[in-house]
């Protein structure tokens, strides 16, 4: 049985990690693949780190949570600390190069550690609002769970109504996917 790709996405409340996970899951489902997405939720979720667990494969997915991910994406300092538990010798660990004071917290046991300047690209080249879409591009490129075109379709499905009113937004989001993919491609 080909194993599902296991992804952990973590960030602060407003960073949109849950919606990224959901859009990727839906894109995979649209492609006829098996996806399982589980948000973390709880009484203190308001103040805590937001973690999304995502698995994509070709057969029905097993247990909804897992101990070790194939790829971990941590988007805040706290998220780096919180997610190190999901890192093993086969894990690719991705974090934003703009994060500070985490040098000692970057997992030492990962297969690969990638620092990508997503926050910087978002604010310098695009807009901070598409930060999470850049991340989505990076995840899609790093994992191959869906094609970039499918990812764009999924965004279209989710935000199409906004794009109708403001077609520039579509370009912006598509560019964000491409840039995210490039950032990772350069490092892989």
């Amino acid at each position: 049985m080909a194993k599902a790709v296991k992804i952990v996405l973590a960030g602060e409340g407003g960073q949109g990690v849950q919606s990224v996970a959901e859009i990727i899951a839906e894109a995979a489902n649209e492609e006829g693949r098996e996806a399982l997405y589980i948000p973390n939720f709880g009484v203190e979720q308001r103040g805590g780190v937001s973690v999304a667990f995502l698995q994509i494969g070709d057969q029905a997915v097993g247990s909804p949570k897992f101990n070790t991910a194939d790829i971990v994406i941590a988007l805040s300092e706290r998220a780096v600390r919180r997610t190190s538990q999901y890192v093993g010798p086969d894990t690719v660990f991705v974090y934003d190069s703009g994060l500070q004071g985490i040098e000692d917290d970057i997992p030492k046991n990962a297969r690969k550690v990638l620092a990508i300047p997503a926050l910087q690209v978002a604010s310098d080249e695009l807009t901070p609002r598409v930060f999470n879409i850049i991340i989505m591009g990076a995840v899609v490129k790093a994992t191959d769970v869906v094609t970039e075109d499918r990812a764009k379709d999924a965004i279209e499905k989710k935000l199409g109504y906004k794009f109708e009113k403001n077609p520039k937004l579509r370009d912006l989001n598509y560019k964000a996917i491409d840039r995210g993919a490039e950032l990772v491609a350069a490092l892989l």
Partner: protein
């Protein structure tokens, strides 16, 4: 008749709570009573959104005692009625469920287990097994389906209404917070298009005609004067429950014939077990699994046979042995070693199961 939301067979990708709401609509459930509690809230949210469109009713009650008793009232009036709850709400609901048990009322209850005891977590557990199978001051005359994925949530929610109305025992769909909140794919359908007939409902009270003139009055009680009376009622129920048990009980098993170790699990933990077993088999280890789908009644004969053959058993569950106690009672006398993997209030992954197996074999 108002239209149904699903025609033909179609693949969907959604949360488990949404699946339950759709399943109830597709099963021709007519009224839901409920009280908010995480992680079942979205069942009510989706139901209330669909309600006006498909001619459904909803009442938010003041608590779960009331949600349970109004559901009892709903079925007494002859409606396909249901409720959903979790954790401390399940605790409160044991009183009305006891009444339903005593009076053979076909209520359907969806339970999305959360951490316990007390308020604990709103996230996940398998700690409501004892309560759901044996709660109340009775003998556990209930049917409990423990689902593992969204397809089963859909299938067994529909089935629960039929089981309840066919046998007139309170019937439960036992899910959990993971199943409630996660998204995965499933195929939804109109049961009638698949030739699945919904068992007709029947009013206990409010039938046409004047009682005493056109028909005997419908008079139902749960109180008895002398020991002999209640003894006889419970004996009768026991007989009937035991008689239907083999027909109602469901399970899945794999590789138990030649296994050195059989893993017993239910619900969402079974997914981890299945995944682990397939990996371990590939690695040449003789492991199998037994998964009760009904926790009450259990597939007694098959469990006994399996345990009689097995060299060793591993009980895996997200509680401190609630399923294990039920299983042990059934397999009493079997000589297989019993190992455990208990993670109360926490999920169990395929890696956890595989690691535990390797530590035993």
């Amino acid at each position: 008749m108002p239209e149904k939301p699903i025609k033909g067979e179609k693949r969907y990708f959604m949360t488990g709570n949404e699946v339950v709401a759709y399943a109830a609509v597709m099963a021709n459930a007519e009224i839901m009573y409920g009280y908010p509690i995480t992680p079942q809230n979205e069942i009510m949210h989706y139901w209330t959104r669909m309600a006006p469109k498909y001619g459904k009713e909803f009442l938010q009650t003041e608590d779960e005692l009331s949600a349970g008793f109004t559901t009892v009232g709903g079925v007494l009036a002859g409606r396909r009625a249901f409720t959903a709850t979790a954790g401390p709400g399940n605790t409160l609901m044991q009183e009305p469920i006891s009444m339903a048990e005593a009076m053979r009322l076909p209520i359907v209850v969806v339970v999305q287990q959360r951490g316990g005891p007390s308020t604990a977590t709103v996230i996940y557990s398998q700690q409501e097994v004892t309560l759901t199978t044996l709660g109340g001051n009775g003998e556990g005359f209930r049917v409990v389906y423990s689902t593992a994925n969204h397809q089963e949530l859909f299938d067994y929610t529909i089935k629960a209404f039929n089981t309840a109305w066919k046998y007139r025992f309170p019937t439960f769909v036992l899910g959990d917070g993971y199943q409630a909140k996660m998204r995965e794919s499933l195929t939804m359908y109109d049961p009638e298009e698949r030739g699945l007939k919904m068992v007709p409902t029947e009013a206990y009270v409010g039938k046409p005609g004047v009682p005493g003139i056109d028909r005997p009055p419908g008079q139902y009680r749960n109180t008895y004067n002398v020991e002999e009376e209640i003894h006889e009622v419970v004996q009768q129920y026991t007989k009937e429950f035991n008689a239907i048990a083999p027909e109602v009980a469901e399970y899945e098993s794999f590789g138990t014939e030649d296994a050195d170790l059989v893993i017993v699990s239910h619900g969402v933990v079974y997914r981890a077990v299945k995944e682990a077993v397939s990996e371990l088999r590939e690695a040449g280890m003789k492991v199998g699994y037994f998964r009760p789908i009904t926790l009450r009644p259990l597939a007694e004969k098959e469990l006994k046979e399996m345990a009689g053959r097995a060299k060793a058993l591993l009980m895996a569950e997200s509680s401190v042995g609630q399923m294990t106690r039920l299983v042990k009672e059934v397999i009493y006398g079997a000589t297989a070693d019993i190992h455990t993997l208990y993670k109360p209030g926490m999920g169990i992954s395929a890696e956890d199961v595989a690691a535990r197996v390797r530590s035993i074999l």
